[in-house]
């Protein structure tokens, strides 16, 4: 009897679950399916939900219609540059905010936190003018430096550094270790989980970045892969199979990282949402 009473609720649960899976999976499935279709299959009505044979040619086309390697190289340079720059800038700042008392500390840290609340997209224009006047337009510097002093990163690392026991620091200072040695040998190893989380967030953010590479460049010289894919849409918009193939090549690196570090990424985003 009991199962009978519970059945309607259970059926409803299963139905909703299936519906949710369909809603979140369909757009991805449709992208992948389209990327392997022929143009004829793409335009067929009613649409085909499966393909006869996989059209790998679409990927070749996407690869050659735009200078795919050029955009990918730019994306990699900017992503790597941002990661390295962040370590150089954020780690010392977080260390000082965590471990030193100095005049004006609260004010400075407050400024750092306040910048987390400023929507960056609102101030692209004055920064564009600044870059134009200083000759920094269309340089890697302009797409790296503004992002290496991330307030979020400073905040997260400071929390981690504060938890390193005092005894470890004192022991190192008795050995006359310099501050940079302390950062390098004690702080950084203790913060490896936080640092790798930050690296993941930076990779995702920079790889996906579209707005700033768009508004702070006037030529293709340093433009990134998302802009390359938009270019693909501009010239091959009537061939959705090629656009979707290019789109897949933009998404796949992120999905691989997500599959490998799923738990860590979800934890990082949860942390950002509840901090």
């Amino acid at each position: 009897m009991k199962t009978l009473i519970r059945a309607p609720g259970l059926v409803l649960r299963i139905l909703i679950s299936v519906l949710l899976i369909v809603i979140f999976l369909t757009p991805f499935y449709w992208m992948i399916l389209t990327a392997f279709k022929t143009l004829g299959e793409v335009l067929a009505m009613p649409p085909k939900f499966w393909v006869q044979s996989l059209q790998w040619q679409n990927f070749k086309d996407a690869f050659t219609r735009i200078d795919f390697l050029h955009y990918t190289r730019n994306s990699l340079i900017i992503t790597l540059g941002t990661l390295i720059g962040q370590v150089l800038v954020v780690v010392p700042a977080a260390y000082a905010f965590a471990r030193y008392d100095f005049k004006g500390k609260n004010g400075l840290f407050g400024t750092v936190l306040a910048t987390m609340m400023i929507p960056g997209q609102l101030i692209f224009l004055p920064i564009f003018v600044m870059f134009a006047k200083s000759g920094l337009l269309n340089t890697y510097v302009s797409l790296i430096v503004p992002f290496i002093a991330s307030g979020t990163a400073i905040f997260m690392l400071r929390q981690t550094f504060m938890q390193v026991p005092d005894s470890q620091l004192e022991a190192a200072r008795l050995d006359n270790a310099g501050e940079f040695k302390i950062i390098y040998t004690i702080m950084m190893p203790a913060a490896i989980p936080t640092l790798s989380t930050l690296a993941l967030l930076t990779f995702i953010g920079t790889w996906n970045s579209y707005f700033f590479p768009l508004v702070w460049t006037t030529t293709d010289a340093v433009r990134t892969l998302p802009l390359g894919i938009q270019r693909l849409q501009d010239i091959e918009g009537l061939s959705p199979q090629i656009v979707m193939a290019g789109n897949m090549m933009l998404i796949v690196p992120i999905l691989i990282v997500f599959v490998v570090a799923r738990k860590q990424i979800i934890k990082a985003f949860t942390y950002m949402g509840v901090k």
């Binding site: 949710l20 899976i21 979140f24 954020v90 700042a93 000082a96 750092v112 985003f269």
Partner: protein
């Protein structure tokens, strides 16, 4: 010894200097510079001409800006309401930690780490009037075709749908984690009191997660004011300006019409709106903490 202690005093400033300098140059200074630019007429090439408040007067006199502002607000209200309500329902639905729930949670979170341009391209294809999947599915029920991105009554809502699909999973994830941190003894006490399901939900669940909800609402409001990618890829502000919102318009005015001062004035207005909402949020937060 003395020189060492003196340099030790300077050290923390040296350590924070690069970060503080970069944040000042790329956040604090541009805000002021933006206000400055808004008082000039300038086309990026010729000389700058002082214009006083002319850019602002033009903003509020012209019909364009009010349309853009109302599009932005309408988008914000639809987006934030839908995201919050659906995320709440999704979080409650996925509350039990089972395999299938974890799977759905991960799946619904995935769009959040995909670039907005990818998401926009996929949805633009799904929403294609003639060959898109959505209109085909509608036609099975004898409905449509809907001009998802070409009908000016629908286009803004279509963009909201994309945004909701992308961010609902992330918001649900945060709410789920807040739900999980409600102490179990509160529910046990309520059960002893024979409290109704409704009153448990409103008195305990909703009340305990309300700080998280308010934070998410603030984040979503600020985020939705910045909507740009979907518009630039999917509608270009059209049809008939129906999806022309603030950031997109600032972008167009800057790089298509070269009206720097006018664009800067728009950014100042948006900055003021976002600033007021943020200040209001923190004031409300302080009061809550005080009287609790």
């Amino acid at each position: 010894m003395k020189s060492r202690s003196k340099s030790m005093k300077l050290l923390p400033y040296l350590l924070v200097a690069p970060a503080v300098m970069i944040l000042t140059i790329f956040y604090i200074y541009p805000i002021l510079y933006n206000v400055y630019l808004s008082f000039f007429t300038w086309n990026m090439r010729g000389p700058m001409k002082f214009a006083g408040l002319n850019n602002y007067i033009e903003l509020f006199k012209g019909r364009d800006f009010l349309g853009i502002l109302s599009n932005t607000l309408l988008y914000m209200v639809m987006d934030v309401t839908l995201v919050m309500v659906l995320a709440m329902l999704l979080a409650l639905f996925l509350q039990k930690n089972t395999f299938i729930n974890r799977f759905i949670q991960t799946l619904s979170f995935t769009p959040n780490i995909i670039s907005l341009i990818s998401v926009s391209l996929i949805w633009m294809w799904l929403m294609n009037t003639d060959t898109g999947l959505f209109n085909y599915l509608l036609s099975l029920f004898g409905a449509g075709p809907v001009g998802w991105l070409t009908d000016k009554q629908v286009a803004l809502f279509s963009l909201v749908l994309v945004s909701v699909w992308k961010s609902v999973g992330f918001n649900a994830l945060i709410i789920t984690s807040a739900l999980g941190s409600i102490p179990a003894h509160l529910y046990e006490a309520a059960a002893l009191d024979n409290a109704s399901k409704q009153s448990v939900f409103f008195q305990i669940t909703l009340r305990m997660i309300s700080p998280t909800l308010f934070f998410l609402i603030l984040m979503n409001i600020i985020g939705s004011f910045q909507v740009f990618e979907t518009i630039n890829i999917m509608t270009q502000g059209g049809p008939a300006n129906a999806t022309n919102t603030l950031i997109f318009s600032i972008y167009k005015q800057s790089f298509e019409y070269y009206r720097v001062g006018y664009a800067a004035a728009m950014a100042v207005v948006l900055m003021a709106i976002v600033g007021l909402i943020t200040i209001f949020y923190f004031k409300a937060l302080n009061r809550r903490v005080h009287y609790r």
